[in-house]
């Protein structure tokens, strides 16, 4: 029963997305295109000449899969904060939905499923851009798509839990300033984490993004050992599941008065 009810939430989101898909697809295509062209090729040319790439790998090949994971993190972060608060607090649309046979558990499941679908889409388009640049050219590289999706989910569920507790967007913007943007920049997408000072390396590896970047990069470059991959997947799954488990009672407390 929960599966069917959750599916309604996915349908609802899809119906809204029908109006937005063109703009969304355009952004999902041109963002990686511009980043990979400017930083991958433009900046990358300098990096390659200066230090022979990153550990022998041309900069664009290093950058692209890392950026893929970072962009899905950003997508998840945005979707699970402001729009979610809007549904809870400003439009009260969740109140209307919960007046039907839908339960909070179904609502949560449905929103998570929808976010996952959105990120699959974003990641797939990114992969296509990577293929256009010649970065992704093996069947194994396709695994970067689910890897990036899982990375996004590992941020999505904790952020859903967080947003459920918020009455306004003040702390939300702080989260973007203090967590999301720094992770985007220093989380391993643009340069190896090993270049960070020791303490910060530990901090970076504690976050899901570092693992998502490593996983995604490993699949695209084809240099990931199975054991390492398993560790990365477990960390990402761990964040996702713990986030969902915490989100359920928090969301229920917020919506059921």
């Amino acid at each position: 029963m929960a599966v069917y009810a959750a599916a309604r939430v996915v349908e609802h989101n899809a119906l809204v997305f029908r109006r937005l898909w063109r703009g969304s697809l355009t952004v999902s295509f041109f963002t990686p295109l511009f980043f990979l062209a400017s930083m991958g090729l433009g900046l990358g040319g300098l990096v390659n000449r200066g230090s022979g790439g990153v550990g022998g790998v041309p900069y664009i090949d290093f950058l692209a899969p890392g950026l893929l994971a970072a962009v899905t993190m950003q997508t998840a972060a945005f979707e699970c904060t402001y729009p979610l608060l809007g549904k809870i607090q400003w439009d009260h649309i969740y109140d209307a939905m919960l007046a039907t046979p839908l339960a909070v558990r179904d609502l949560l499941l449905g929103e998570i499923a929808w976010i996952a679908l959105r990120m699959l889409l974003v990641a797939s388009i990114f992969w296509i851009v990577m293929a256009l640049f010649g970065v992704a050219h093996t069947p194994e590289s396709l695994l970067a798509i689910p890897a990036a999706t899982l990375t996004g989910l590992s941020f999505a569920t904790p952020l859903i839990a967080f947003t459920s507790t918020q009455k306004n967007d003040n702390v939300m913007s702080a989260i973007f300033r203090i967590v999301i943007t720094p992770l985007f920049l220093f989380g391993g997408a643009f340069f190896p984490i090993s270049r960070l000072p020791g303490v910060l390396q530990a901090v970076a590896w504690a976050t899901p993004l570092a693992h998502g970047v490593a996983l995604s990069r490993g699949f695209v470059l084809g240099n990931l050992a199975t054991k390492e991959a398993a560790v990365h997947v477990l960390v990402l799954l761990g964040y996702t599941i713990v986030g969902a488990v915490i989100a359920q009672p928090l969301l229920a407390r917020r919506l059921v008065k």
């Binding site: 609802h12 109006r19 439009d91 009260h92 649309i93 109140d95 209307a96 039907t100 046979p101």
Partner: protein
């Protein structure tokens, strides 16, 4: 509860129903029954507990204590089944602003597991019923308040509910919109839908309801038919002529124990069916014993702000 012919068992039954939010007691032990097919009203000022009572009936707000049965079922255990047969028109329009008028109805049908084709068909029928067919492709944001309310009512009917709950259905609407809503609700009643509504307008209660309870501060302070309530509480009755600065308005003061107008700007508790901006100089025309009036000799001026 005794076993009876299910057709005669009350659709909603509450005993000692309570709702508490921390220290605040919103609903303080109320008893009521709603029979199938009747139009039942909760009347009272803001803060009386009407909305809290409605949310408990809608099975979206857990009860604090007491018993509540809807369709004979306990909302704590059978909330999903109860909600499947309800229609809810909340006080605030909770429409999806990202979707069009028609899409709002169609997607809502899905939450009741209706097939897409059925949802589309019912959506068109309901848009006809609330006279919004010409606006079906518009974004909800472009609608007026009265249209949004009509859409919310249409949405509440998408699952052909046995019971329709309306929280202050015409608050904030202009008179024309109000009458359209009343007319539609009356038609629903004629078709056999049970209506439960809250209101703080006596004229709405009179128009729509077969029976009313009056709530104040979480308790039921009076119940009966609209006629009964008016007649009962106007014994004794006293009327004053109020001279406003523009024209003369006669307003009947109903000495109603336990119910006060929200804007307690006048010295006596009363209900205005049409609260408007005016100055009052009470001049007694004594027509019987009743609640103590302010001194008739003194010309006293009070300003009632419009409700």
């Amino acid at each position: 509860m005794t076993t009876q012919d299910p057709d005669f068992a009350p659709l909603i039954s509450a005993r000692s129903l309570c709702k508490r939010f921390g220290e605040l007691i919103a609903v303080d032990g109320i008893d009521f029954d709603v029979a199938r097919g009747e139009a039942f009203g909760f009347l009272g000022p803001n803060g009386a507990g009407k909305t809290s009572a409605m949310r408990m009936i809608a099975s979206v707000s857990p009860i604090t204590s007491g018993t509540l049965r809807i369709f004979g079922k306990d909302p704590a255990r059978h909330g999903v089944e109860i909600r499947a047969r309800l229609g809810v028109v909340p006080q605030a329009d909770t429409l999806d602003l990202e979707l069009t008028v028609r899409e709002n109805l169609i997607i809502f049908a899905r939450y009741f597991d209706l097939p897409w084709a059925v949802g589309r068909k019912r959506a068109d029928e309901l848009l006809e019923f609330v006279q919004l067919t010409e606006r079906s492709k518009d974004k909800v944001d472009d609608l007026s308040g009265g249209m949004k309310r009509r859409l919310t009512i249409a949405r509440a009917l998408i699952n052909e509910p046995d019971l329709l709950l309306l929280d202050e259905p015409t608050t904030g609407l202009d008179p024309q919109a109000r009458h359209l809503v009343w007319d539609r609700l009356y038609r629903l009643k004629q078709r056999g839908t049970t209506l439960v509504l809250t209101t703080h307008y006596m004229d709405e209660a009179e128009q729509l309801c077969d029976r009313l309870v009056v709530m104040d501060k979480g308790k039921i302070v009076a119940e009966g038919t609209p006629r009964e309530l008016i007649e009962h509480s106007t014994r004794p009755r006293r009327s004053w002529n109020f001279v406003s600065s523009a024209t003369s308005h006669r307003i009947s003061i109903i000495g109603w124990t336990g119910w006060s107008s929200e804007r307690r700007c006048c010295p006596i508790e009363f209900c205005c069916t049409r609260p408007t901006e005016m100055r009052l100089w009470p001049r007694c025309t004594d027509s019987g014993s009743g609640p103590k009036a302010p001194s008739c000799a003194a010309a006293r001026s009070r300003t009632c702000s419009s409700g």
